[in-house]
Subunit: 610 residues, 2 copies
């Protein structure tokens, strides 16, 4: 049998019966399974390979789901999914498992976790609930060092440290968040790590002493009473202890025996404990160990070589990066900010060319936005490049810090619209409603690369908060007669009394639908504020259909409808938007389901013209 | 002359010419001025009295506005306003100064600050901009210990610690945020404070040595080289140093000579420094020293006694608190959470009756929301009571942590709508658009106390995220024939073909307007999701007017309009909402300006019926 031990695990209880050799073998089988399956479908690889031993040790020591494990970020949960009876074949594709914890899949997934730094807050809530109910079960939060730069972690630690709960925080320290983690905390962790030898010594000593029954326990207790002395001598007091946690570590995150011992100790302490472990991202798969950033979230690849099956090519992200470099060459005031997404947002080249004007702030979107406002107050021209879904974190900072007293800040919003495999937690379908509540903001949504370039140029030469939002992936081929250099809006007149209004990448679909049906198209480039001119065009039509890759409440379609009704429009107005949370599936499929693909548009026009 | 020295200060440069005695006298004059003026208009008193010496020392040492001072939270800036040539008579009232820093008032106010924990991010941005421009001016952030519990502070410190900027963070530690600060960080600060004697000794020693020219400097340098030894001996390493800051303190925040010396040293270090000072909230005014929470933000009072000129009486906040206590008595699963606003949100009684189910998490709205979701995942029924404006911080947590996998969490949203004296930074006019983007959420907006009670009861007996939003201040008298026990919606038929739709406290105004004009009124109680039944009522009218205390984009009025247009409505629809940011002024005046008062409603109906 290929995965003999893995196949013998029917419940998590079976893990507890294995001896150390078999636990190690289980880890190797898990690695093999993860590499096999992720190479087929793509997914988060490096962090999952790093967390194999930890996951096995957690299920060995704790009794999930009574003692729940909250993963932060959730994409390191593949081993956990496998060990709790789930098949990861086809993960992140329609019909397959989610790439993140999902309670609908298993009672072992108590809390969703697609955004970082939420786990300690959630776990503390669960732990306080257990305390009120009189249970002394442990609750475990596993936090990557990348997620540790998020402010919520400190808000939660500040509260957890004074609680009387059995909360265990495992700091899974792989010296690398998505982009290398370069904050002061990272430096501090490195400093702690360098003292590992002491912990190993102390741990081994205690372990040896405990093996001598009766006598051992006595000595151990005595040893504990001088722990303050020991600790102060070796690493004096540390920040986690200042925050009220008992600190254990750093421990080798690939030594299963040591992990089990450390976690057992954490479990016995019955108050908040921080277990600091060192892991290697991509552990056990050479290409991923060598290039963990590439294998963080990866497309399907040849597992023998680690080469991608399809090269990634140009994308809106890479075009964004190129444009920012071009603009920065001419203007020494342009600065770029990312929250741990240098590669994802296309800023690698900028970071290398203009290091003094480049800021990777870690997973810290709130800070990033206000920091950008500060740079602007100091006379710079900052652009904050961020995924739409993560910008949700910085709403108050856009409103309060950048807009009440307007600062000239550009926001480059990547992954706007439907995103595909990451599913519910990562959809970029909420930013338009958020942004359009903000007085004074301007929002652009380009349909192709060259429009993206012009939008950025305009954003940098305007004032106040300027947002340019663009989708994941690459531009699509537009039918010849709709191709041109787009302006703030473009109007394509057809012969039928029906108008399609849309923006962004949906314009391509709309152009095809218009060709097929003879309807007109109003393509908006500067989507907010909405110019009255657009309403004047639309109100001449009997049928107006608005297609938009956003939730409906607060969408441009809704604002447009409101303006239309106030203008005295007396035709039929219909909107096609994204409803609810969109699970993981191909972008094209999601478009179809929400009536936003070419065919749905054609049918909608035909229906309207009946 | 009453304020002889104060009146002699024409520019901040004049402060630098004063000797220590006169500086002390200046502080006493400032206190006097603040107590006089705040007793007349109300405002933030206790924190301003605590920051007098600090403000004088900052302007003595630094060269504002080139070396800008960013106040966090901004309400401690009254002395700063006075010293930079502004008259605080009538502060927070229409025509008077804002209660927060405001760049339109003075070049000395570089950054708005009505929400907490933003200062280090902003200051770091300004400092990086200065660095790029080749300036070595200092940038100062003054942060209260309350604001220190906000996650943005740590995100910013994590980034600042590795920067090469002349950033100076003054931690203004008064052992008390708005509610007493009980987190682990507060405990840690208390621990540091207890070592003050050492700093004073070291500071005095260095000061004495420096007075001996030539020799002094040499010894001083030698002393510095053993600083690590000293430091480790006395307070070993501290968290701020772990985060990359040079730590100075704790210093007595009311000893002007010591403050000046410490700040001068911070200025000379030319890298990020944290200056930790201890102050007394309410310093120099006995009633405020005794009860700093009452005098945090206070209504007009008799300065001789500290008694309020008008007793506060009942309010939606106090009614909220009473209702939660009543519900919690019957249901042991109900927990209440506040982010440092126990009194402000009316939870004092709950906190005393049910301490084990009460959580004050400090200024940490993001954590509060996810913690609530965690409590719900653990089987509790949490309510998070929060001001509308601060809930903006937790949008992503409501969406991602509480709604993608729905958790039964109740949000009690206080200060919904227009708030009055606090102005732009505190308006509760954005929560409706935010909340209504969230799939599955239910939102209530009661018009009187008894409806608030029923809404809360319903919220606790339903599922998913349930928000109940209510205004500041007290309920208003409703005309007799519109009084009743309100349901999810109530329809009052008038004789004219015009319908007013509204909710919350505006219903009172609408009722009066309807009485006067004969129009009908549709009062919505459960404002979201909008039931189709409401549309069916409205579409029978020729004129429909929607009045709403919210920004328009994403408002219920807009959603309603959209549903109306799709229903085939062919009348006139007009909305009256809040536009832009509303500055500080009486609620009634703001209502008038935005067309939401009784008279404006009457005029709007008459205009529509013409």
């Amino acid at each position: 049998m290929e995965h003999e031990i893995l196949e013998s695990i029917k419940t998590t209880g079976d893990i507890k019966k294995l001896n150390n050799d078999r636990l190690e073998k289980l880890c190797s089988e898990l690695r093999d399974e993860i590499i096999n399956k992720v190479s087929e479908t793509g997914g988060h690889l490096a962090s999952n390979l790093g967390a194999v031993e930890l996951t096995v040790a957690l299920h060995y020591v704790f009794d999930s789901p009574n003692e729940p494990i909250i993963w932060d970020v959730g994409h390191q949960c593949y081993s956990h999914k496998i060990l709790t009876g789930r098949d990861i074949t086809g993960i992140r594709t329609e019909g397959g498992l989610s790439g993140f914890p999902k309670s609908a899949e298993s009672e072992h997934d108590l809390f969703v976790a697609g955004h970082a730094s939420t786990s300690i807050s959630a776990a503390l809530g669960i732990a306080e609930a257990k305390k009120i109910a009189g249970s002394d079960d442990s609750v475990i939060a596993v936090v990557g060092d990348g997620a540790f730069s998020g402010g919520m972690i400190f808000e939660a630690m500040n509260n957890a440290g004074r609680s009387k709960t059995n909360l265990i925080v495992v700091l899974n320290d792989n010296e690398m968040s998505i982009s290398p983690n370069v904050g002061a905390m990272a430096k501090y962790l490195a400093n702690i790590r360098s003292k590992e030898s002491y912990f190993r010594f102390k741990d081994n000593l205690e372990h040896a002493l405990l093996k001598i029954p009766a006598i051992g326990k006595g000595i151990f207790t005595a040893l504990r009473s001088v722990k303050t002395f020991f600790k102060d001598m070796f690493y004096s007091s540390n920040t986690f202890e200042h925050l009220g946690f008992t600190y254990l570590g750093p421990a080798d995150g690939h030594d299963i025996e040591m992990l089990i011992r450390t976690l057992n100790r954490a479990k016995s302490i019955k108050r908040p404990v921080l277990v600091h472990i060192n892991t290697v991202k991509g552990k056990g798969y050479e290409p991923a160990e060598k290039n963990p950033s590439k294998f963080h979230g990866v497309a399907p690849f040849y597992k023998e070589t680690g080469e991608l099956k399809k090269s990634s090519g140009n994308s809106f992200s890479s075009e964004f990066g190129k444009n920012i470099c071009k603009l920065a060459e001419k203007d020494g005031k342009i600065c770029a900010i990312t929250a741990a997404m240098t590669d994802g947002t296309g800023l690698r080249e900028f970071s290398e060319k203009y290091p003094e004007r480049f800021f990777d702030v870690g997973i810290a979107e709130e800070h990033a936005m206000t920091f950008a406002a500060g740079l602007a107050a100091g006379g710079m021209k900052p652009v904050f490049a961020v995924y739409s879904t993560f910008l949700q974190r910085a709403y108050d900072q856009i409103l309060h810090d950048a807009s009440i007293e307007p600062k000239h800040v550009v926001i480059g919003i990547d992954r706007a619209g439907i995103v595909g495999g990451d599913g519910e937690t990562h959809q970029g379908t909420f930013d338009v409603p958020l942004l359009t509540t903000i007085p004074g903001i301007t929002v652009y949504s380009p349909s192709d690369y060259s429009e993206l370039g012009r939008n950025l140029e305009k954003a940098f030469s305007s004032e106040g908060v300027q947002a340019v939002r663009y989708p994941r992936d690459s531009e699509k081929e537009i039918p010849e007669k709709f191709k041109k250099e787009y302006g703030d809006f473009d109007y394509f007149k057809g012969e039928k009394n029906c108008l399609i209004v849309t923006y962004g990448r949906l314009f391509v679909e709309a152009a095809f639908a218009a060709e097929e049906t003879g309807s007109s198209v109003l393509k908006i480039g500067k989507i907010f504020p909405i110019e009255q001119e657009l309403i004047e065009i639309a109100k001449k039509y009997e049928k107006v259909l608005f297609f938009e890759e956003s939730v409906e409440n607060g969408s441009i379609a809704e604002h447009f409808g409101k303006m239309l009704i106030e203008s005295g429009f007396d035709g039929k107005y219909k909107t096609f938007c994204v409803s609810g949370f969109v699970p993981h599936m191909k972008v094209e499929n999601a478009m179809k389901i929400h009536g936003l693909d070419r065919e749905s548009m054609i049918n909608a026009v035909k229906e309207a013209l009946k």
